[in-house]
Symmetry: C2
Subunit: 226 residues, 2 copies
């Protein structure tokens, strides 16, 4: 019996669901080391299978990383949904819209800080905008992170917290701001900033975005402030 305990073994020649097992194992690698830590050989090793077996389910390493990336994106959606769900109920629709908008941002940044490896994996590689619609990257509610943000923005417009003419493409602007902070915090120059400093930064950033989106009250768009 050459079976050493601790090493995953199997009695059948076939694995059963190797594809899923690889995604699972690879996700754990990404969780601790980011997408570049997803080594094909190490992943197959953990599953207890020869390196080449992976090629029966993915054309190459990048395809595996891609699949893991989609799953990570879905986890990001979950985190955002959690922050939205944790919101205290309100009768005021304006308050509600603003709360949901904030929750989208805080959930995003909470996930980035809690699971930096997966967050980075979610944004790894051959991506175009089409993937944001992929249902695999959606949360339990069926919406992707991008779509969750869109809904929150629609809510702002409905409550006149945002000018409708500014709505088109606003996802990209807001997304940029929040994403930028996430990136600077997890592998940029702000890495390792203690929570006591990051939490206010998150708050202030969302304040800034919120304020920047609001409709112009009087005359405030011209070069001079007032």
């Amino acid at each position: 019996m050459p079976e050493r305990p601790g090493k995953p073994t199997r009695d059948t020649y076939r694995h059963g669901d190797l594809r899923q097992a690889l995604i699972e194992a690879g996700t754990e690698l990404a969780r601790t080391g980011g997408p570049e830590a997803i080594a094909l050989r190490e992943t197959t090793r953990r599953v207890g299978v020869a390196p080449n077996a992976a090629y029966r389910h993915f054309p190459n390493r990048d395809a595996l990383v891609q699949a893991i990336s989609l799953r990570a994106m879905a986890e990001l959606a979950h985190a955002m949904e959690e922050d939205i769900a944790a919101l205290p109920p309100t009768d005021d629709p304006v308050q509600g819209a603003r709360d949901r908008f904030r929750a989208v941002g805080t959930g995003y940044l909470r996930f980035a800080r809690t699971e930096p490896g997966l967050f980075r994996a979610a944004f790894y590689v051959p991506d175009d905008m089409t993937r944001a619609q992929d249902t695999v990257s959606a949360g339990h509610g069926g919406l992707t992170p991008f779509q969750l943000l869109g809904e929150a923005l629609d809510g702002l417009v409905d409550c006149a917290l945002m000018a409708p003419e500014r709505r088109p493409g606003a996802e990209f602007l807001v997304w940029s701001c929040v994403h930028g902070l996430a990136v600077l915090l997890i592998d940029g120059p702000l890495r390792g900033l203690p929570d006591e400093l990051t939490d206010p930064a998150v708050h202030d950033l969302i304040d800034l975005i919120d304020k920047g989106l609001r409709p112009d009250t009087s005359a405030a768009d011209a070069p001079t402030p007032a």
Copy 2:
């Protein structure tokens, strides 16, 4: 004569300034392929030297990447300085402050789109905030990108385009927004967006930040807009 044309050779056993040559060659690799394209072996090959020679000047690959990263950060500073220098002269100090602030942002994003590989290299790896002060990463004016942004923000405060009490830490917020768009554009889901779409996005983003930074004119900070 085993010298094949095209391959860099040298007549002396010593190279002269191998360290600088490695940084130079590695920078070219990063320019086209980003920091992960900086392979120690390929870099030394281009310089015409054995792989191990690099270890006389850098403890490991990461140190080389780090040196290249600093140089790339300096190039980023140059790009920002260029946009500032290209500004039309103005008598209006308010206009000037706003212009410089915008130029900091446009320069940053122009560099990111023009030299995505170097931009990514600039933000690669073991970084903490201390490196932003490193003079190696400064531009011709002696200021790092971070410091250039700080100056621009000071200018806004001086012209009452920004509330002084919001000044501390504002670098991080503004930086996040601009950096986020850069990242989404060059290796995120917005990759490959044509210039016709990115240019307005850059403009709108800076507008949003500008607006978000402005002092509250009347009553506009409370949950209700007006």
